[in-house]
Symmetry: C2
Subunit: 554 residues, 2 copies
């Protein structure tokens, strides 16, 4: 008997990068897609709003795709759905809160009525054809998160999703270690596991420890309390609500994303909010300071967020006052340190007291550290392992961790996006690759901003632009009007008149030379203008503006 059947596992995002998580599992004529995330643009991606995975491979195999299964409702797992579903309208499976958040998102994009969302519960198994997907309870910094077991004819693939080990979770239901152990005993062929925190030794603290800090701070505070946190961290919000209850404070909410999520989560029963606890942000001044908690967005210092606006007196409803206590219940995501620091400085200047991560235990991570990862590897005992959700450094460290636990390096696959891991009865190997990459979203444009546009934006941002316009007579090449020079972002013109005048002379000279030498080819004329001006300007200013010569013929 020749056993030719194979399962392919293809990460389209989430490896060698943080974000836009998406993994394909393929068996014969069946494709299941795990997650559909976005990521934030890198620094050099000027003007880009978000980045989503390239799904060419899925579009080419449209008929095979049976559905998208979601592990949880964070943007890096669901954020690309509005763009992907437009091109690939397949059913989306997820738990109630996850799909609640997806719903809000699709509504904003005007797509809700066209899409099929299918709610699942933990322990549910969705059977497609040969493939079936089992949703397994785990713990993460958002409620209702899952690990996934993809059952295939060649064995079970376990994808941890984002997770941490939390023995005392806020919703009271511990991650389903028993099921993971059971699957491990039955035999898991492939583990895909979260590598985000693999560089951290030890354990991530329980979400509950943050609640204890809240209780302590609430107990000691006489002024208003303002807590900024990630909108999606329902458990964190629940703990703020609990502390408010205990210390008899009313709760107001400010910030669109947190208002949305609190509404979704409380409608679906994921938040226990006692009657009369919540008040409108308009009414906060009707209560004494020690009776108020405001939950708000802006824990990353995002310049347009509610907290950032409060810090510079641009918030319509909340004016920071001496005696306010602001708790920033989050860690800065790399790249955001300066934003958040600016907000902290402003809040202090306004007389608020600010509690942030370097000063108190007001945040815990949602991702597993080394000892937690070891637990999962030990329970699942996979035949093969593919570290996911991390840059190369994290995937590499995760591979080393697995090797320390006894795994053979040959059975570990650090893949790049688009690479195909092929598993057969005989073994597993990386076998070729499919189209994969980054699709940049800028305004309404999806994928229309490419390298040339980005390179130009970068160039423009550094030294600005100098436009040279001249009208010439077609027949003779004689200059009829101009040259005019208009610059933006280069020098402040009023202070640099000589520079501009001299530049005009240089252009004039180039044009005269062209007439003299009977050069009529525009490309050559333009390139001569560019070269001469570039040399002159660099010598005078040590700057390199973009030079844009425009010649009009009449």
């Amino acid at each position: 008997m020749i056993r030719k059947e194979k399962v392919k596992v293809i990460p389209l995002g989430g490896v060698n990068e943080i974000g836009k998580n998406m993994t394909v599992v393929e068996y014969k004529n069946e494709i299941i897609v795990i997650d559909c995330g976005m990521m934030f643009p890198e620094e050099e991606m000027f003007g880009i709003d978000i980045v989503i995975p390239d799904i060419s491979y899925l579009l080419k195999n449209k008929n095979k795709v049976k559905g998208i299964v979601l592990t949880h409702g964070h943007e890096d797992h669901i954020g690309a759905l509005p763009y992907v579903l437009k091109q690939l309208n397949v059913p989306v499976y997820g738990t109630r809160l996850t799909l609640g958040i997806v719903e809000t998102k699709l509504k904003e994009h005007g797509l809700l009525s066209d899409c099929t969302l299918k709610v699942v519960k933990h322990n549910d198994v969705i059977t497609f054809n040969d493939l079936s997907v089992e949703f397994i309870k785990n713990s993460h910094s958002i409620a209702d998160s899952c690990s996934l077991a993809i059952h295939t004819p060649l064995g079970t693939i376990l994808h941890t999703g984002d997770f941490k080990v939390d023995y005392t979770p806020i919703d009271g239901v511990v991650m389903d270690f028993a099921r993971l152990a059971e699957l491990g005993r039955q035999g898991v062929i492939l583990l895909l596991a979260d590598s985000t925190n693999v560089e951290r030794p030890g354990y991530t603290m329980s979400e509950r420890t943050v609640g204890e800090t809240f209780q302590k701070i609430f107990n000691e505070t006489r002024g208003r309390i303002i807590v900024a946190t990630f909108a999606s961290n329902i458990h964190r919000i629940q703990q703020i609500i609990d502390a408010a209850m205990k210390y008899k404070r009313k709760v107001a909410i400010s910030g669109r994303s947190i208002e949305n999520i609190v509404e979704v989560a409380s409608n679906l029963g994921y938040l226990r909010i006692p009657e009369d606890l919540f008040i409108s942000i308009d009414d906060i001044n009707k209560y004494p300071d020690h009776k108020i908690v405001i939950i708000t967005t802006g824990s990353q210092g995002e310049p347009m967020s509610a907290l950032a606006r409060m810090s510079v007196s641009e918030h319509k409803k909340v004016e920071i006052q001496r005696g306010d206590l602001v708790i920033i219940s989050a860690t800065p995501i790399p790249g955001n340190e300066k934003f958040i620091s600016r907000v902290i400085n402003q809040l202090f200047k306004k007389g608020a007291n600010v509690v942030y991560e370097s000063l108190a235990d007001i945040h815990v991570s949602g991702h597993a550290c080394q000892e937690e990862l070891k637990l999962i590897h030990t329970l699942v005992k996979p035949k093969y392992f593919m570290p996911v959700h991390g840059e190369y450094r994290h995937l590499k460290q995760h591979s080393l961790l697995a090797q320390k636990l006894g795994m053979d390096e040959d059975n570990i696959f650090i893949a790049d996006i688009g690479q195909v891991l092929e598993i057969t009865h005989d073994g597993a190997k990386i076998n070729g690759n499919v189209t994969a990459g980054q699709v940049l979203v800028d305004g309404l444009g999806v994928g229309d901003v490419g390298n040339i546009v980005l390179r130009d934006r970068k160039h423009l941002s550094q030294d600005g632009i100098l436009t040279v316009v001249v009208t010439i007579e077609k027949e003779t090449g004689k200059v009829i009007a101009g040259p005019d020079i208009i610059s933006r972002g280069f020098v402040y013109v009023r202070e640099s008149e000589d520079l501009i005048e001299e530049s005009k002379k240089i252009v004039k000279k180039v044009l005269d030379n062209c007439v003299m030498n009977q050069i009529k080819d525009w490309a050559t004329i333009k390139s001569n203008i560019k070269d001469e001006l570039k040399t002159y300007l660099y010598e005078k200013t040590k700057r390199n503006p973009m030079i844009l010569p425009i010649i009009m013929e009449i």
Copy 2:
């Protein structure tokens, strides 16, 4: 007797910001300037190379300025010297290594022969007129650093400079606590102290602990060792040299700044380099891997640095190979995390092993943590206190720390740059302010890039530019050539021909309307073109390029 005399202390940089440290001490007709630093541009300062303090106040009081006294040779304390000395040529005082580094810098700017550098030793007192400056040994992440005592007729001002407490420093000479204590006993009117690490509890570890880690790693490693660190950290470099000696490896250097500093430091005797230890980077392949250490720049992942070039095979002399061990002996400065992470990923991909801060103790800070600050406050027992070297959050925390030690809040002054702290026999208060701010250096331009240029660069970076050119007949307003539309950084034109064609039609229509309505005022015509195009483009693309209409008349 009316005691009217007063001392003014004016920070021109280094408070409410990290970097460009500069403090003025003024008594009657005498001004001493402490440090003369630069800072790196903030993210929004597109195209800016460095930022230096606004020294208008010093220029206005040119005749009073007796000299610039330097605490140590880091860029944020000496980096503005080439710009400042051009406008204000006063003597510069500093220890040997500090001035050695300054010399290299002034040479690069072609200024060395015009400037007066005066070398001092620890314990030296330089007497001006009524003011004198005493250089006191301290510990920091660069050799030959000082705290300064400025003796004034109203009492002694102590400026810690950047410092940490290190009981086992590499140069064997401990910070001069005895002198600080003596000054404290005699009475210090004002303490200015480093607030960089005030948010960190406990102590900064001794530099020597890093040496122990090096020894351990060198002992265990069989391949080549490449260590990236800050060029100016002479003690760190000494420890690498010591480890190389012990484990019989040759040392090669790569990276201009580190080559410069090693040369200066070894010429001046600050580095003990045994004969025959150093080899040229050209010769590294003449030795077996286990005989080689390369010390290099790029510990912050700077894209043009030696280590970054090695990581992408663009270094001419060093090709990373499997088995290399790369030690990144530094902490990412906020904002640099992504650069350094990119380098780490690339090095791992090339098969090197990489040791960095989250994995091992291969770096310690050069700044004092809370317990060290408490020691200094307790020794110095100042009457007044001004926290320096930090953002507002740090200055505030430092103020709280001083209060915990018993200081009265009224005696603590959190100043902004330009604010004048006036000390008399009767008391101290913030009394007015002088011109202060940021001067942006872009290429050869010092201060010529202002808000308008920066705003334009930001706008250009986000959505690019769309230039509209049209030639019209002066008399009639009739369009003779164009409208032409050229865009850069907006859309990739080949894919957006329709958009550009439609834009041309809109411009044509605006122009026709103007002719019809006899609008001949260019400003109005241009603004009509802008408005119409802006609306159209935003609707079609949700982007807002800069629109630059240019009308040529013939």
